[in-house]
Homo-oligomer: 328 residues x 2
């Protein structure tokens, strides 16, 4: 069945619209923030077979597209409010995709909208001669003046990262058949799922707002993104490689294929939060993060010397051949 | 020369960033509206060879992508604040496009940012295996509660449209070689320019805010969009075809090829504003529009009867074979 744009919007997307989305029946959406709040806004574009696989489950494609944006908001200490979606469907998508592709895609958006307490505010649906592509703009709010910038890190601040690093890059390696042997299925599943659906650390928004001087989400490679945040703040850092949190599954994969450990730390798609906390607030931050149920690890300290130095457990220095993923 | 994503952003886009854009060096942008204002937000996606021609001047592609969004804001009575841009560049774009393509594209964004008093707040730049694609999210502000909805039209309201209708559809017909004969160059140029670069009616934002009960921008075809606004408001309308404002150039094209007049009224890409004004405010609205330098024409009246009736000057009824453009 050939569906028209209006029908697609009415059937699949209008049910996801919040009050501000005006049923997706107006030219624009309306957002009213509480007095004394700033708007935080971010946009990420995802293209099939660059940022995800076209054959991935549409439920998960939708969630990934939304979550990579929510991760940016979390890193800024912002609470998400809503999002807009530009959906570019490949011409003839009805023949290419399973019949209920769009229904499942909308269900993925709906599930995460419920999980994160947000609504679809608007967007656009068009056809393209190219691959399936998505552009999501996510809106969040913070009390005025409280957005956590990338640029606030000072020498002496403790450097932290949330969750575990490298899972998604290893999950991608598994998807591409680049892992040199079979992993136990639970590890393999964990890593591929970490690639498929990131976990934005929304629980950290409050602790970051309260205690962080600088923060950034890790999307393009942990080592490079950390260097980027320090450079933006005109500081350097001394980092302890053995303190970087690595999941059990990632450890198992690296044992299997030791040359993957560098790409795990530089491959990207982690969607964890990097942040800098002034020394006297570190205990409070650690407690607030624990109370919010988000694991954070202290990985080093910011330095006045602009170099970023990575040390192994034995004190030797570690360098990286390429520090982050460049989209091109 | 092969440019990386970071270099592209630093060289071409960072200079367009406003204060809230944080130099495009953070995860997100920060927007603070004055107390007592609502945010109005809209998103439009444009794909090469669907919404514009890939070979069009990049200066104009950028302006069109921005202006179609600004037109939505104008129709809501909103004053634009800024925008985010997701730019999807076809793989190998450096070989496909002239060397300074991106520079000219950024100049187009910059020229219009200056003209409309807005700034680039953020976005994303990625590569695609498909055609050049753009998704722009534009932000505007209105005093709280003053956004002009599509749904507020009541029976008895005067129906107005800005500018002239059909120019862009005829400009596209000229581009596609579908015009049956040569037009005088000034007419041909006017119409193709109207297709290439829409003129968002920002001057109407104030008059609409003050006097309109309902409004909508005309993007997908005048006749169909008008019907859509009336349907959304649960009213109908009685319209006078001879009152629809048609430019001299469009008249000349229709004389040359009379069968084009229906597609001119239903073809889309007008980016004019349709609105409904209660009878006792019509004179004030007309004066405010004139003071703002925007031509508006009264084309009919909203009716309690839900039918939308088009009358010719001789009183006979007019029907349309297809009332608007559907993207698919």
């Amino acid at each position: 069945m050939r569906m028209r744009e209006d029908e697609i919007i009415a059937r699949y997307f209008a049910p996801l619209a919040g009050a501000g989305g005006l049923g997706l029946k107006d030219d624009a959406a309306l957002v009213r923030l509480p007095d004394g709040f700033d708007l935080v806004i971010t946009n990420d574009a995802l293209v099939a077979d660059v940022h995800f696989f076209a054959a991935d489950p549409p439920f998960e494609i939708a969630r990934k597209a939304l979550r990579v944006n929510l991760s940016d908001l979390a890193a800024k200490g912002a609470v998400p409010v809503g999002f807009l979606l530009a959906l570019m469907l490949p011409k003839g998508w009805q023949a290419q995709f399973p019949e209920d592709w769009l229904a499942q895609f909308a269900q993925g958006l709906g599930a995460d909208s419920a999980e994160f307490g947000i609504a679809l505010l608007g967007g656009d649906t068009v056809e393209t001669s190219g691959p399936l592509s998505l552009s999501i703009t996510a809106l969040g709010q913070v009390p005025a003046g409280k957005m956590v910038p990338r640029t606030g890190v000072r020498a002496g601040d403790g450097l932290y990262v949330s969750g575990t690093i490298g899972d998604a890059a290893l999950g991608l390696a598994i998807r591409l058949g680049r892992l040199g042997g079979p992993l136990p299925p639970e590890h393999s599943q964990f890593l591929t799922q970490r690639y498929l659906v990131p976990q934005p650390r929304m629980g950290l928004a409050g602790p970051l707002q309260a205690f962080a001087r600088g923060a950034m989400d890790v999307s393009d490679g942990f080592v490079g993104d950390l260097a980027k945040m320090l450079r933006a703040s005109n500081v350097g850092g001394r980092l302890d490689l053995s303190a970087v949190p690595i999941s059990e599954a990632a450890r198992a994969a690296m044992v299997l294929q030791p040359d993957l450990w560098q790409s795990a730390l530089t491959g990207g798609d982690d969607y964890e939060v990097l942040c800098a906390i002034e020394p006297q607030k570190m205990a409070d931050f650690e407690k607030a993060a624990a109370d919010a149920g988000v694991k954070v690890a202290r990985i080093g300290v910011a330095t006045a010397d602009p170099q970023v130095i990575w040390q192994n457990a034995d004190g030797s220095l570690q360098t990286f051949s390429q520090d982050r993923y460049q989209h091109f």
